[in-house]
Subunit: 209 residues, 2 copies
Amino acid sequence: MEVKDKKRHILESAEKLFAVKGFEASTVRDIADEAGVNLAMISYYFGSKDKMMESLFHERMINTKLKVQQLLSNEHISPFGKVEIMLDEYIKKVIENQAFYKILLCEQVMKKNPEIIKMLRELKMEYAAMFTELVKEGQKKKVFKKHVDVVLALNTMTGTVTQIIINKDYYLEFNNLENLQEDELKKVLHCKLYDHLKNIFKTILGYES
Amino acid sequence: MEVKDKKRHILESAEKLFAVKGFEASTVRDIADEAGVNLAMISYYFGSKDKMMESLFHERMINTKLKVQQLLSNEHISPFGKVEIMLDEYIKKVIENQAFYKILLCEQVMKKNPEIIKMLRELKMEYAAMFTELVKEGQKKKVFKKHVDVVLALNTMTGTVTQIIINKDYYLEFNNLENLQEDELKKVLHCKLYDHLKNIFKTILGYES
DNA sequence: GGTTTTATCAAACAATTGTTTAGTTTTGCA
DNA sequence: TGCAAAACTAAACAATTGTTTGATAAAACC
């Protein structure tokens, strides 16, 4: 196996553990066991446990910014069309990477690793700025109302999706969706979240279809 | 100082630390230092670090259920009036107990302490059931639309508020509210969140004022 | 006031932590 | 094939963890 693949394999194993036990509670021995490698390999490949976590965040966040930029600069899509795609892409991403988004949540609360906090800060500021541009575009075209609180809107998006991931079990039990297959389940979850958030964003933006 | 006050004092100190560093990363020595007591006192008063955490959750959750029950059974308030009060109370509570709600978030992700998970599970199920009753009441009175996803709605409430607490710094910076006083700040935050969520719940419930 | 219970403390406890070391195996390349 | 670099390992490392101990001090009770 190549070095890059091995690093990725370790990162994926660590990700699983972090999401279940948290960063502090996951020992390098746990991670090494999960990945099926010697515990010294974590220091060997990443330098330290902390730097491994940073690697994980870097890996996951590297593409996000570019993708959003690309979407928002596309002139063939209407403002609300872009909102729809934004919602769809975000929901898809979280559902496909539930483990990571759980870690992300904890890390945001703890604020322990300065390097990660810095990364997150930059990403969020850029995200908010880009969404602001999108909203302005819609306002100029008279399809969005004035005075939209973009940060509040974005937090409703991230908050709702995150909570559903955390409370997945309750949600499924409450809606009698427990015996659904994993794939079907993801589809249903995505669909419900998308409709729900699309409606909310129509209200927030004052958009009439 | 009485025993109960001392226990409460230790719990409050622990709460602060947990919210900043997380449960695993907060050592009993940290907690003892923060509370200004000997580290052996944690085991002496609570039995163990884990049981102290359980104590903290029990303390915080004991009154929630009763309050909500009381509100929903009040026949002098309209269905949407109850929704308004529910939102107001929830926002107020989280803003006043930010530290605890950060811990709560992490604990929900980690799912490490079975006793706490059990408590949370019961509380959530009851909360969802009670809100369902409220929605039914509104539907019977023809002021709420049919087919409301109550769990999704509740998760938007908790998710939005939680995210704002986590991202408080960004939110303030983005809205140029950084040099506000702590008390003023809480007021502004509460006000913005309340308006935002009220609008969203109008959409979700199909309520026209 | 004497005695039992409760509260407090510093020190010690065994267990576990992330990291390093020193030695071995495997790999890549001439 | 030979040999240096990279990959890997088990063992050891010092530091830190939650908890317990045994000794005092304070409080409560009769």
